[in-house]
Amino acid sequence: MALIKFWLKLERTVVATLLGLIVICVFMAAVMRTVGLPIIWSVDIAQLLFVWVCMLGGNQAMHSGDHVGIDYFVKRFSRKVQLGIDAAMYALILFFLAALIVYGIKLTLLNPERELGAVRLPYSLVTAAIPLGGALMFCTAAAQFVYIIRVLLGQVDADYSLSFMQKFVADSDPVAPAQAKL
């Protein structure tokens, strides 16, 4: 548990740093071009980091239960039915992410010579973000899936204050509902 917590914190710090670096890269490129000293590699680096921010950020959002869906219909069901539906959705997500990992690896290995714009870095550094980010999300989704299944089987008492469990809490319930984003 402590290890997972450490990893999450590390991942969060890394993504936030990457995001800061992207801002610097793009801003610097724009300023240098305006003063007549263009740096060609700067934007390429920003693009490369961007795909990693997207995929790792996708995993962070999953941890916090920020990937919202439309709950207008499902909210009408009892909590038990909701948990059942969600378990099915998690199974589909896991299936989708598994495909993303497998075909992402295939794509990464497909064309090793391709280079990324002006920097002489392999393009596979971009594509690799997809299977790797997919794998991280797979772990997150799997852990949440197992938790929901165990709640359904009655093996653990559901803790609805967990961020990914808050969608099962109705507005009228005493625990504060997750604040809508997007």
Binding site: G58, Q60, G69, M89, A180
Partner: protein, 426 residues
């Protein structure tokens, strides 16, 4: 393609997270096809992430977060209060003017709505406005953010439909200001009918306004700088996004002295979640847009629509009505991502300017977020202010009606939208 639509709808109804509903529906097209390998679907995700215009999305999300911690928001609230709290309807006007000014730096209507509900909402209710009306003014007022540049929705529209984002930004300015005016008129009308008074008793003097403007100068200056830099080609919209981040940091540090390393880093971390959520939807939607192009859906759609009517204006109004209905049941980002590649070729074939259409489309789909059954901005505001949906709905009607009138006007008179971008950028 029908499979894709069915899979998508079923998953949505079952509360599949939007990103995965889009991704799985897109993948189902590749699985069902004999000659399309799934590696192409993954390739679509990678190639979307390498698009430079899309970089503007994380930048403006981050800039919005930084605005709140840098003190820009506080200064804008103070200035809005000074400007309009003397009009009948008081703080409701402040909320609307604040949306217009915030919209000049932040690009997300929902972020604006939830920020205002938290910061301004309680004092609005204390000032005697009903809960329903407070929520309605905040939520519908946030619609202004969606058109005033920078707007994340317009970035996505430009990206998916291959339309100049710079032009869209400049085109959004006049409609955004008109919407501010129209919403203020609607608030005024409601306030007068109910005898809701003003917040402050006297009009600010020109001197007080000048002083307030000076106090808020860094915040007010940003949208002006944005338009100037994009218009004269100093920055592309993405670079302007990076500039917005640096600007918010500089103002927060040098002018307002609010920033510490820790709260900047916290803003970065908070943005990461929002970026991860929205970017995953965008990247996965690129799988579906491949299927749309592969099936030549726009062509088929144009042919079908021409049989209904050949008059472009009627067609435009019909499409907008359709978007309004879809907007009520679907989240705005997803509609823009999925329907832009279909609709832009259709309207272009009809002789409608895609910049004109983009602004109207953005207003209609974002408005859907302010209405039930699926209204992200509405739920955000009502959730924070604990306002029952029914009361919100009743109170939002005059405001929504005012917006719809404006949309019809803008649809009938394209030059109101287009004179600025066509005059400034040719």
């Amino acid at each position: 393609m029908i499979t894709v639509a069915v899979v998508f709808t079923v998953l949505l109804v079952l509360r599949m997270p939007l990103a995965f509903a889009v991704g799985i529906a897109g993948a189902s097209y590749f699985v069902g096809s004999e000659f399309l390998p799934l590696t192409v679907a993954v390739q679509r995700i990678a190639s979307a992430s390498q698009s430079f215009p899309l970089l503007a999305v994380p930048f403006f999300i981050l800039a919005g977060q930084l605005m709140n911690i840098s003190g820009i928001t506080t200064h804008l609230i103070r200035f809005s209060q000074l400007l309009v709290s003397w009009i009948s309807g008081g703080l409701a006007h402040v909320s609307i003017v604040l949306s217009a000014m915030m919209g000049g730096v932040s690009g997300s209507a929902v972020a604006d709505a939830s920020m205002q509900a938290r910061v301004l909402g309680p004092s609005m209710i204390d000032s005697g406005l009903s809960k329903g009306f407070t929520s309605a003014a905040i939520a519908v007022g946030a619609l202004i953010t969606a058109t005033i540049p920078p707007s994340i929705g317009l970035i996505l529209y430009g990206f998916m439909g291959n339309v100049s984002i710079g032009k869209l930004f400049i085109a959004g300015l006049v409609p955004g200001l008109l919407m501010t005016l129209v919403l203020m008129l609607a608030v005024y009308w409601v306030a007068k009918r109910r005898g809701i008074g003003a917040q402050s008793l006297e009009k600010p003097t020109a001197k007080a306004i000048g002083k307030g403007l000076l106090d808020a100068k860094w915040a007010v200056l940003f949208p002006v700088l944005l338009i100037i830099t994009i218009r004269w080609g100093i920055f592309t919209p993405s670079e302007a996004g990076a500039f917005a981040v640096v600007y918010a940091l500089a103002v927060g540090h040098f002018a307002y002295r609010n920033l510490t390393f820790n709260n900047v880093f916290r803003a970065l971390q908070k943005s990461v979640n929002d970026i991860g959520m929205i970017m995953l939807i965008i990247l996965f939607a690129n799988i579906v847009s491949y299927a749309i192009a592969f099936e030549q859906l726009p062509q088929a759609m144009t042919e079908a629509l021409v049989t209904v009517t050949e008059r472009p204006t009627v067609m435009l109004l019909l499409i907008l009505a359709f978007l309004g209905v879809i907007g009520m049941v679907m989240e705005a980002t997803v509609i823009v991502l999925l329907l832009t590649p279909i609709l832009v070729p259709v309207v272009t074939a009809m002789g409608i300017d895609p910049v004109h259409f983009g602004i109207l489309m953005m207003i209609m789909v974002t408005l859907g977020g302010m209405t039930p059954p699926v209204g992200v901005a509405m739920y955000a505001v009502c959730g924070i202010l604990k306002c029952p949906t029914e009361r919100y709905v009743v109170e939002s009607l005059p405001l929504i009606f005012a917006v719809l009138l404006l949309v019809v006007f803008l649809a009938l008179v394209p030059s109101v939208v287009l004179f600025l971008p066509n005059g400034l950028m040719s």
